[in-house]
C-alpha cells in the first residue's frame, strides 16, 4: 500500500476512535483501558512476521520474545476485561 492510503486509513481511524471513545460510559473507563491494552497487542502481527521469516537469527529470537510479551497482554487483557465486565450488574427487579 502506498503511504497516502495508509495515512488516510490512520487519520480516519483517529476520528472513529475519537467518537467511539467519547461514547464510552465513564463507569467502564477501567475496562476500556484493559481492552485497549489487549487490542494494542495486535503488534503481535509484527512479532510473528519477525519470528516466521528466515534471514536473521537475532531478529527471529527478538520476534519470539515479542510474541511471548504480546500474548501475555492479549490473553491477560481480554480475560481481565471479561472478568471485570461480568461484575457490572443492574439492580435486581423485585
Amino acid at each position: 500500500m502506498d503511504f497516502i492510503s495508509i495515512l488516510s486509513i490512520f487519520v480516519l481511524a483517529c476520528f472513529v476512535g475519537y467518537y467511539v471513545v467519547w461514547s464510552v460510559t465513564p463507569a467502564l473507563h477501567t475496562p476500556l483501558m484493559a481492552v485497549t491494552n489487549a487490542i494494542s497487542s495486535v503488534i503481535i502481527v509484527g512479532a510473528l512476521v519477525a519470528s516466521a521469516e528466515a534471514g536473521s537469527a537475532a531478529a527471529k529470537y527478538l520476534g519470539l520474545l515479542a510474541v511471548v510479551l504480546a500474548s501475555v497482554n492479549i490473553f491477560g487483557g481480554f480475560a481481565v476485561t471479561e472478568r471485570m465486565l461480568a461484575m457490572y450488574k443492574k439492580k435486581e427487579r423485585k
Binding site: 483501558m33 485497549t36 512476521v49 515479542a66 511471548v68 487483557g77 435486581e92
Partner: protein, 484 residues
Amino acid sequence: MLQTVIAMAAAGAEGVAASPFVSLAYLVAGVLFILALRGLSSPASSRRGNRMGMAGMAIAVATTLYTHDVISLPEIVGAIAIGGAIGFVIARKIAMTAMPQLVAAFHSLVGLAAVLVGAAAFLNPGAFGILDALTGEIHAASRIELGLGVAIGAITFSGSVIAFLKLNGNMSGKPIMLPARHLINLGTLAAILGLIAYFVTDQSPWIFWTVTALSFIIGFLLIIPIGGADMPVVVSMLNSYSGWAAAAMGFTLGNTAMIITGALVGSSGAILSYIMCRAMNRSFLSVIAGGFGAEAASSGGGADAIDRPYKRGSAEDAAFLMKQADSVIIVPGYGMAVSQAQHALREMGDLLKQEGVKVKYAIHPVAGRMPGHMNVLLAEAAVPYDEVFELEDINGEFGQADVAFVIGANDVTNPAAKTDKTSPIYGMPILDVANAKSVLFVKRSMGGAGYAGVDNEVFYMDNTMMLLADAKKMVEEIVKGLAH
C-alpha cells in the same frame, strides 16, 4: 462468516502475499476492534464487544500465520502458549484493587514488544518488505516509522515500569525532582528527534540503538517527577503511547489492523487523559511537568488550621444518623480502595435500603488511581451500576440529601476548589457534599490532609461528623450498629 474470511485469506496467500483478501482480513480485524470499543458504551453490550475484540485478534494472528512461510511454527505456538498462560493466570488472580498497576504493567509489555519488533525489523528488513530493491537499504519513510515506533515503544516501556512501581508501592509516590530536569528532558527529546531525522540519511546501527537507549532513559525521566495522585493521567497517557507505538509499526508493515488499532488506542488514551485533566482543572502540560503535591505540602492552608475544633463521632452515631435519613449519598475515594472497604460498604448500603433509605453513590472522575477505578471496585462488591452516578449527574442532589457519607475521598470534596484562589486545587470541579444536611467523613486521622496537601473546610463544619478510623473497620462497625 469469520471462517470464510480466514479461508479466503488463506486461499489468497497461496498466490501472492499482497492478495486483496489478506488486506480484507486485516480490515475485518480492525473493524472488530472498533466494535469492541463501541460495545463499552453500556454495560449491557460490553461483553459482546469484548468477544468481538477477541475475534478480531484471532483473525489478525491467523491471517499473519497463513500468509507467511512459517519456518518456526512450533516455536511460535510455544511462545503464544507460554505468554497466554502467564496472561491468563495473572488475569484470574489479580485483585480488583490492583487494577491500576496491572494496566501499567501491561502497557510496559506493549511498549517492550514494539521495541523488539522494531529491532527485528531493523535487523531483518527483508522480512518486513521495507528494503529498497535498488539500493538494498531500508526505505527512507520506513526508517522514520521505525525510529518513531521504537522511540515511542521504549518511552512507553520505561515510563510504565516507573508508573507500575509507584502504583504498586515499590517506589514512593512522591515526585522525584532532578535539578534542571526540564532542560535535560527537552535536550534528550531533541536528541532523539534529531537522530531519527539523521537516520534517514544514514542507516548505521549506532543511530538506531542510540535512539532506543535515549528513549528508554527519557521514559524514565518523564515519569519520576509525577506524583501518585496524578497517576490516572499518566496511566491514560501511557495507554495512548502504546497505541501510537502500534500504529507506527503498522505503518512500517503497511498493516491495516495495526494502524486502525493504534489510532483507536491512541485516541482513547488521549481522551482519557483529557477527561482526567479537566476533572482536576489542570493543564496536561502542568501534569507532565510534574512535581504536583511536592510544593503544596509545605505551603498553603495546612499550618494555621491544625488546632481547629471539629466534631468526632462513633460508628453508633453514624449508624443512628443514617437510619433516620431518607437519602444517603456515598462518596468513595482512593482510601476506600486502599482499605478494601467496598464489600463492607455494599453491606452497609443493603442494610440502609432495608430501612427504607435511598442510597446512591457519587463518583468523581479522578477518584482512585485510574479512570473508572471506583466503578470497578463497587461493581466487584456487587453494587448495581444504576445506583452509581457521575459527578455532573448527582451533584445537584446533595442539597436534598440527608447524609453525605464520604469514605476515603478528600480533595474531590474540598470547597477550597471553589473559593480559595491560592489553593493548588482551585478551579477543580468538586462534589458538593457540604450541601447535604449532615456529612459523615471517614478518615484515618486528622493529620495528613489530602494528596494536594490542603486542609478541607468540610472537616470543621457544624453539620460534619468526623469518623476517624480505618475505612473498612469503621464501615464494619457501622454495619454492626445498623444490624441491631
